[in-house]
């Protein structure tokens, strides 16, 4: 059944038990993103330590896809150099915009590969990217603040 392909166990697990959820101090920058079609929102904070993503904390409301993908995000980027985090982001965006034609690399995306099925539903791609857009925005703000 298609539905199970989309809602992989991994996604439902992250949805029910989100990693790193809650807004924490200290942080360098915060971003608030909205999905205008459904009103889903995420507020996400980034704390950098030199070139490393020291912490990502977030809060928000939204569907299982947006919540789970933000949870996976924290697993993927916290503790990583910014460059590597952005590579993972690019890989995730490519996967999501691939309409189910892109083969995900588990070494890069880890639990993120579970979203491959979501990529077949264009209306849900925005959900999966909501947290990532906030992350991108927050990093550029914190870099901007430092520059």
């Amino acid at each position: 059944m298609q539905l199970q392909q989309m809602y992989q166990e991994i996604i439902l697990d992250h949805y029910k038990n989100p990693h790193g959820r809650g807004l924490r101090d200290p942080f360098d920058a915060e971003s608030h993103q909205i999905n205008p079609t459904c009103g889903d929102e995420v507020t996400l904070r980034v704390k950098l330590d030199g070139e490393t993503v020291a912490d990502v904390s977030y809060d928000g409301q939204g569907c299982s896809i947006s919540q789970a993908s933000t949870s996976v995000l924290t697993d993927l980027v916290v503790g990583k150099p910014i460059g590597e985090a952005f590579k993972k982001m690019d890989a995730f965006v490519e996967l999501m915009q691939g309409r189910g034609q892109v083969e995900p690399d588990e070494d890069v995306l880890e639990d993120g590969i579970a979203f491959a099925g979501v990529a077949k539903y264009p209306a849900r791609v925005k959900c999966a990217l909501l947290g990532w857009m906030a992350f991108k925005d927050a990093v550029s703000r914190s870099e901007g603040a430092k520059a």
């Binding site: 298609q2 459904c38 896809i65 849900r124 959900c127």
Partner: protein, 425 residues
Amino acid sequence: MTTTAAPLDVATVRADFPILGRTVREGKRLVYLDSGATSQRPRQVLDAERAFLEIANAAVHRGAHQLAEEATDAYEGARAKIAAFVGVDFGEIVFTKNATEGVNLVAYAMGNAATSGPEADRFRLGPGDEIVVTEMEHHANLVPWQQLAERTGATLRWFGVTDEGRLDLSDVDELINPRTKVVAFTHQSNVLGTVNPVKSIVDKAQAVGALTVLDACQSVPHSKVDFHALGVDFAVFSGHKMLGPSGIGVLYGKRALLEALPPFLTGGSMIEMVQMARSTFAPPPQRFEAGSPMTSQAVALGAAVDYLSAIGMDRIAAHEHVLTEAALKGLAEIPGVRVVGPLDTEDRGGAVSFVVEGVHAHDAGQVLDSLGIEVRVGHHCAWPLHRRMDAAATVRASFYLYNTLDEVQALLDGVRETQKFFGVA
């Protein structure tokens, strides 16, 4: 509501709609419960548009040749039909691209009164003047008024909504006061289904000399509506929600008001005289139809009105009433489901929005979609209303003449399936 006419023969109706025969998602039979967003088109409407395009297509109003004559007759004939359908005069109907353009037309034309002659005085707005809307408006009947207020310095005010999803009229005499210039409100909410008491709001507005603008997008397709009887000054609705094409909407305006209203879009066909430095404008409705119009779309909307009239708006309303009642009753029986909007069918149309506790609307919609049930999820372009009703997003089923009780049952089963899938029941 009771009706003496024979009930609708849904099977016959469905046979007119080619798309209803298709399947979705691994061969599931299509259960289309999203007519509140856009309706489907019967063969008769598709055929009428195609026949026009294969026989009489030409520029209307501008040509003197035979094709142009035939095209103009078809276009203006459609206007006459549509005017009769909503109880108004031929010259009171303006074609727009959608209902949204209709609201913008009135709002911008009022703004243009600032640079128009004394005939436009009653449309002029400025600081101290008030524009009144409601908390249950679709963005189409809210944002244009916010913008008009911003451009003119007028103040935007609004009616609240009760917990039951009715308009809160307790402060009506404070809200509609001598400073009020316009009262813009919806006839039937696209989220709650609520039907508002148009006549009494119009009476209050008239008493203080305020104009009324009715959003009739969700009423005209589903019941007999007579704008003259309602007494509103302006009203808008969309073709695509009433079996007609996308790309065409209707603005109704009282003749005397349209005659005094400044133009909005300008260009060809709406002028009286043009010189390089200045121009004068044609009488309505032409004044408000700049450029090449939606010719074949008007013809097709005329055919849609014929189709609806042949069936009878009362029978359609009665049919939807039965479906809505079944949906409300069925949802009430499912624990963990909250209907957002009136729970009974009194003054209520066939949009049924709800929240499945513990399941986001997007996720619920996905499960329903996997079963072939096409509903809408989100805030349905009524974001402030969703905030008011304490729902980030809802699932909305909306019914039309081609829906069946079986489909309502499929929806109810689908909701239970959703709860099971997400482990909340």
